[in-house]
């Protein structure tokens, strides 16, 4: 029997353990809330993690990757704006390795070659997560620029119509004086 098949009945436990480990990357007062509150609107972070881990685990075990990008985005987008460094933001992917060994350590130890395959898929996922992280951070900069443009819409429209524009702006945009960066 292949490792994949043997793991199948354990997937729920693995996923539960993985989620637990991800929640534990948050400060302790928050991780309780993340796991306790099940309402998807009251606890969007917990919900996203629960939902996306199912897809990601499935892709690691089966090798199917149709929905991985979406699922990665669901978690990484959130972590990209939270108090994490880049490495910590994507480290949740590696926690899957720990979850698997925690739950199915003995099985895995017996089939090194099959484990290597899973291990590589998880590494691949982590690299992909890093790309998503970078995209999210870049997007933050582009949406900031788009915002400035919207906040000066009347000036932009006037310019388009070839009309003169007087210098004022949504607060902050015309900011002459502000602390050194």
């Amino acid at each position: 029997m292949s490792l994949q098949t043997q793991l199948t009945p354990m997937l729920d436990d693995i996923r539960r353990r993985w989620i637990e480990l991800i929640f534990a990357t948050y400060p302790s007062d928050a991780s309780g809330f993340l796991s306790r509150e099940k309402d998807q609107f009251a606890n969007p972070v917990g919900f996203a993690i629960r939902q996306a881990t199912a897809t990601l685990l499935d892709s690691v075990v089966t090798g199917r990757s149709e929905h991985t990008a979406e699922a990665l985005d669901q978690i990484v987008r959130i972590r990209s704006v939270q108090d994490f460094t880049a490495s910590a933001a994507v480290s949740f992917v590696f926690l899957l390795k720990q979850a698997i060994t925690d739950v199915a350590g003995e099985l895995v130890a017996k089939d090194a070659r099959a484990w290597l395959e899973l291990d590589e898929r998880i590494d691949g996922l982590a690299l992909e997560a890093f790309d998503v992280f970078m995209q999210c951070r870049e997007q933050l900069f582009t949406i900031r620029l788009a915002e400035q443009d919207r906040w000066n819409a009347s000036a932009r429209l006037k310019r388009q119509r070839g009309l003169p524009v007087s210098p004022s702006g949504m607060h902050g945009t015309g900011r002459k004086e502000h602390p050194r960066r």
Binding site: P44, L140, R150, S166, S168
Partner: protein, 539 residues
């Protein structure tokens, strides 16, 4: 050397558990979650304390030598003036009902964004300095000494509260954390600690009458320019009076409505409506701001900015004031204006010249919200609306915190939408009405350097929008707040691409069938009425 995955796990597996009482913020590492300090010129202009060049990343914040005494005296002063503050300081039983209700906590997972802990930052100092037990027992009684690090922490976390009051909806004692934040900002302000995105608009507003610093000629220029755009689209010529003495009504809107996208389309909606009604009204180049960023700084600055609305109403000799789609403006008007600068005895109790309805709810402030005004028009069958002109839009509605929670304006906006659009979908119950989630950028936090914090705080709101976007293909998020219109498009770009943002009177303007108009082929944004965005079949 780079870290192995195992090492990464080691580091972040169990985050260090600090004692919450020990403050220390690494501002350098947390860029994106705090705002730049108030500029010297603005502080000087407003006569506020301790103008200087400084940055939160500096070790030395250049506080006055007797800063502790200043805070202590200021605190004492606030406690004497506001009995509510003393009660809020004393009566929290730490039941935790509010703890997970703050959008900043939900989105960040930072425990100090729990309202109860946010308040505790101030309360612990109160306990130490102002209660007998605290004076004697100190830390054992939950008291904490006022150090520079505490002040830095106050700056960080009290400028991570949007004063939205969602938490107070859940508190069995009605403790209003927004007022605790206001008190803390008031104290920080005594030391010259504040943020530029608040201080500069306040200074602008005091000088020119609006947050953007727009002078009368530019105001006039902008209004006329937008009216020309409006005429291009509708064929209707609108020439709104400015500073007209003796007009019946003074109309005051947030400045972003005549300046920024998408507020300018809401402005066009107002203009079209007033033209349709033949309303006797005037705009004012001085009362050219409904918003009041003074509220986010100190009670005194809130009062100063609010005063100009009354002063201008008096100068122009109008009977009453109609206010535009603005958020915190209505908190000031509804909850503070009367005691700050009112009652406005020189004005009359507002009465709609079209329907004769007397707005008893505004009997004292003499100021009516445009959604109430327009809902009353529709109720009396005074508007001809063709909602199919908004069929490009599949609409949901975001209750802005202040109109919803500080004013109870829940039904009118929905009533307007029901008549102006064909496709309307509510977001889930625990994210709307009194329980609405903040945009994450109110109370002066909508600046771009604070972008990470805005995205965190806005996540719960965006998450609910995403749900209706996926379930019902909603593509337009409506709101009645100028800050929302400024910041929600950015929030949508990040979390729910494909959803745009508009005010409600923009949609009223689209739907309004008005004599002598061109056949409408575009909406007020100049986009085809039956464009790509349209999805005709209902789900």
């Amino acid at each position: 050397m780079s870290k192995t995955p195992e090492e990464l796990l080691q580091i972040h597996y169990h985050p260090p558990k600090h004692d919450w009482m020990d403050p220390s913020i690494d501002f350098e590492a947390r860029r994106g979650t705090w705002s730049y300090p108030g500029g010297v010129k603005s502080l000087e202009y407003l006569g506020l304390p301790n103008p200087r060049e400084w940055s939160p990343t500096d070790e030395d914040w250049k506080l006055p030598p007797n800063w502790q005494e200043i805070v202590h005296r200021g605190f004492k002063d606030l406690l004497t003036k506001y009995r509510s503050l003393r009660i809020f300081m004393d009566c929290c039983v730490r039941c935790g009902a509010c703890a997970d209700k703050c959008h900043f906590f939900i989105g960040s997972g930072d425990p100090k964004n729990m309202p109860v802990l946010r308040a505790e930052l101030l309360r612990s100092v109160y306990r130490k300095d102002f209660t007998t037990a605290g004076k004697i027992l100190g830390r054992a009684a939950g008291g904490r000494a006022l150090t520079i690090d505490v002040i830095k922490e106050w700056f960080y976390y009290f400028y991570q509260c949007t004063e939205c009051r969602r938490c107070s909806v859940f508190c069995p004692y009605g403790i209003d954390t927004a007022e605790i934040t206001m008190a803390a900002r008031e104290l920080l302000n005594l030391l010259g600690i504040n943020i530029n995105w608040i201080v500069e608009p306040v200074a602008n507003c005091q000088r020119t009458g609006n947050h953007l610093g727009i002078q009368p000629h530019t105001f006039k220029d902008n209004v006329e320019f937008l009216c020309e755009e409006l005429e291009d689209i509708t064929g209707i010529h609108v020439d709104p009076p400015i500073n007209k003495k003796g007009a019946e009504i003074l109309f005051i809107m947030p400045s972003a409505d005549y300046f920024a996208d998408p507020g300018i389309y809401t402005f066009m909606g107002y203009m079209l409506l007033f033209k349709y009604l033949g309303l006797d009204y005037t705009l004012s180049a001085y009362a050219s701001e409904g918003g009041n960023f003074g509220l986010f700084l100190s009670r005194d600055t809130a009062k100063r900015l609010n005063y100009k609305m009354y002063a201008e109403a008096k100068r122009l000799g109008v009977k009453w004031i109609l206010g535009g789609e603005c958020g915190h403006m209505w908190r000031v008007v509804n909850q503070y204006m009367d005691t700050m600068n009112g009652p406005a005895d020189f004005l009359e109790v507002p009465r709609s010249p079209v329907t004769g309805t007397v707005f008893e709810n505004a009997a004292s402030t003499k100021m009516v919200h445009i959604c109430e005004f327009t809902a009353d028009l529709i109720h009396h069958g005074k508007l001809k609306l063709d909602p199919s002109r908004n069929d490009w839009a599949r609409v949901t509605y975001h209750d802005a915190c202040n109109p919803a929670r500080a004013m109870g304006l829940l039904e009118e906006p929905r009533y307007l939408l029901k008549h102006a659009v064909n496709h309307f979908y509510e977001m889930p119950e625990n994210t709307i009405r009194e329980q609405t989630f903040c945009c994450g950028a109110g109370a002066g936090l909508g600046n771009d350097e604070n972008i990470d914090m805005r995205m965190r705080g806005g996540l719960p709101r965006a998450n609910a929008v995403k749900y209706v976007h996926e379930q019902h293909r909603v593509n337009l998020l409506t709101c009645i707040c100028a800050i929302d219109r400024a910041v929600l498009p950015t929030l949508m770009d990040f979390w729910v691409p494909g959803v745009r943002v508009s005010g409600i009177h923009e949609l009223i303007g689209n739907a309004l069938v008005i004599d002598g108009e061109n056949e409408r082929t575009t909406n007020l944004r100049g986009e085809p009425l039956h464009g790509e965005g349209e999805v005709s079949d209902d789900v």
